[in-house]
């Protein structure tokens, strides 16, 4: 039975330090309500999927993001209305895969001998930018190019992209998200953050929506995809799974925004002393 649930937001008071560090359990039944989704996702695959990620990236949890984000999106086949129910994400993190949250975000240590303090509260109950799994799902949704999840992998090649750029309004614009993926992975951490600030400034004058249009989701394509069964073998294959069969972003639109981003990066590079380009690029 793949029923999904939502947890009321005041469940946050139950997410104690002990629960977060894994030394206590929590009864969330009083905060839980069933979700009646038109296309219930394959929630039963979520636990084995994150277990596979934890096995593959046992010693490098951060590196698991690029592998897990597209696959999580391909398992939790949701439209944006259902995905924006934060209670669903609270339920996933607190009841379904709390072990993953603790593994991925171990928390700080007071001294090198201390046990990690456990994940911050926001990794269990936070919004799209902070939630341990919500951030992966929304990154995949915003950075995928139609069915192609390769840009999502690129987005997680640098944690600064997901950490900083996911919260920018501009990333809700499809062409801007694709342009960002063409420019940002080649930059250093400082460069990514500097371009983020500079772009914010540029967009006070340049009208992004006039530079390039942004089309709504193709709900027919999404429905077909949501109705298809999820194949486990394809999911954990080394070949990237395919996402919703929507049309790719218009190339002219992406090119137009890419030009803006490149010029912003070039300007910063000319004005600053630090090296914007990553050493490996």
């Amino acid at each position: 039975m793949n029923t999904c649930f939502t947890l009321r937001r005041d469940v946050a008071v139950k997410v104690s330090e002990e629960f977060r560090s894994g030394t206590a359990t929590v009864d969330v039944a009083p905060y839980r309500e069933p979700l009646h989704l038109e296309h219930p996702p394959a929630i039963e695959l979520l636990e084995p999927l994150v277990a596979e990620a934890m096995r593959r990236f046992e010693w490098d949890p951060v590196a698991s993001d690029a592998w897990l984000a597209p696959r999580l999106h391909a398992v939790l086949r949701l439209d944006r209305f259902d995905a924006s129910d934060q209670g669903l994400w609270r339920w996933v993190a607190i009841e379904v895969v709390p072990g993953y949250v603790r593994w991925r975000f171990r928390g700080r240590r007071s001294t090198s001998d201390d046990a990690p303090s456990g994940p911050p509260l926001k990794r269990f109950v936070g919004g799209a930018r902070d939630h341990a799994l919500g951030r992966l799902w929304w990154s995949a949704e915003l950075f995928r190019d139609g069915p192609d999840y390769a840009p999502v992998v690129a987005a997680f090649s640098k944690q600064d992209i997901a950490n900083t750029w996911l919260s920018l309004d501009a990333m809700h614009h499809r062409a801007a998200a694709q342009a960002a993926i063409r420019v940002l992975p080649k930059l250093s951490s400082k460069g990514i953050n500097a371009v983020s600030k500079a772009l914010d400034h540029v967009l006070t004058t340049v009208q992004l929506d006039a530079v390039a249009g942004s089309v709504p989701p193709d709900l027919d394509a999404l429905d077909r995809w949501m109705g298809d069964p999820v194949a486990w073998d394809e999911l954990v294959s080394d070949v990237l799974v395919a996402g919703p069969p929507e049309a790719p972003t218009d190339e002219l639109a992406v090119a137009a925004v890419t030009r803006i981003l490149r010029s912003v990066a070039d300007e910063i590079r000319a004005e600053t002393e630090f090296d914007l380009i990553a050493a490996a690029a």
Partner: protein, 329 residues
């Protein structure tokens, strides 16, 4: 940097106007536009797929002619923070009216949650924006805006030198002030107006037949009551859930009025934060220094101004005086 977007450059002095018409729900006409500045879908309660609206953006063309723009473009944007949705529709210049750009917009239930906004932006050939309409709110759930008069916060007249049984005494130094908010009242906040201020009651009473200047002055004086009241109430609500450490759990207030107030005001304080929990976390994170504390108060004040529409009322007042040829404003 990006093209010729050199700041500052001339922009429209007056915001273009966004008009919506002929609302349809799944192909059938529906009364969705009964409130100014709002598309109210909250009554549909999920029993719909697509809403279609005719859109007209009216641009002050005379002003555009003064700007270095050949043929301005007008783009309509639908933005929904909870679903991270941002879509665009390019509007087409009307064949009948050179001031107007027209188009159709569709809103789909499965891409929107809670609240969205529609706005049209005018840009010139360099894609610089030169003007933007005030946003039209799309309510997908009943709006929770608290009201200053009536509704959540009662407004009462009293003589500030007298306290009736059950009323909190007002400090004597405030005896000639126009208004005072009793935030700590056990039954919920009350906004008091001072009967001792000559002419105030006549100015603020709700009646018809006022001149344009009177109406504009009344709105502006009401803002002088409402804005500080909102600042006080908002600070009280935030204080009730203040955290001593950034990692402490974020908890919503148990008092209904505080919860409703924060639900309504946090999106105004943190317009770029799509998640109300995250916005509350930002507002209740202990400040590191005076700049953090100042930032919070700036957000409280600007959100309060936006809520009361103080700037719009002040502009209306200014226009009203100008219209009637009164000097000195």
């Amino acid at each position: 940097m990006a093209g010729p977007a050199i700041f500052p450059y001339p922009t429209l002095a007056e915001a273009p106007i966004l008009r919506l018409d002929q609302p349809e729900v799944d192909g059938e006409p529906a009364p969705l536009l009964n409130r100014d500045g709002v598309v109210d879908l909250s009554g549909l309660q999920g029993r719909w797929s697509t809403v279609r609206l005719q859109v007209v953006a009216e641009v002050p063309t005379d002003e555009i002619r003064l700007l270095p723009a050949d043929e301005p473009e007008v783009v309509l944007t639908v933005h929904c923070a909870p679903t991270n949705l941002r879509t665009t529709t390019r509007l087409v210049r009307s064949a009948d009216n050179e001031h107007a750009w027209e188009g159709t917009v569709e809103l789909t239930r499965r891409t929107l949650r809670d609240q969205a906004s529609l706005y049209a932006t005018v840009d010139d050939v360099a894609n610089r924006w030169i003007g933007r309409t005030h946003p039209v709110a799309v309510h997908l759930r009943p709006p929770r805006d608290p009201r200053i008069s009536g509704g959540h916060f009662p407004v009462k007249w009293r003589d500030f030198t007298v306290a009736a049984p059950g009323e909190t005494p007002i400090p004597s130094r405030l005896k000639d002030e126009m208004s005072w908010v009793d935030v700590a009242n056990v039954d919920g906040p009350i906004i008091y107006l001072n009967e001792r201020v000559s002419g105030l009651r006549e100015l603020l009473d709700d009646r018809t037949g006022r001149t344009r200047v009177e109406r504009a002055a009344r709105d502006t004086v009401l803002d002088l009551v409402a804005t500080p009241a909102m600042v006080a109430l908002l600070n009280a609500a935030l204080s009730s859930v203040a955290r001593s450490d950034a990692d402490d759990p974020v908890q919503w207030p148990t008092e209904t009025w505080q919860r409703d107030l924060l639900e309504a005001m946090l999106p105004r304080m943190y317009p770029d934060v799509s998640d109300s929990d995250a916005a509350l976390a930002a507002a209740t994170t202990p400040p590191l220094d005076h700049r953090d504390a100042g930032d919070l108060q700036s957000r409280v004040l600007s959100a309060s101004h936006e809520f009361t529409r103080a700037s719009a009322h002040a502009k209306t007042l200014a226009r009203a005086f100008d219209y009637q040829g009164v000097d000195g404003l």
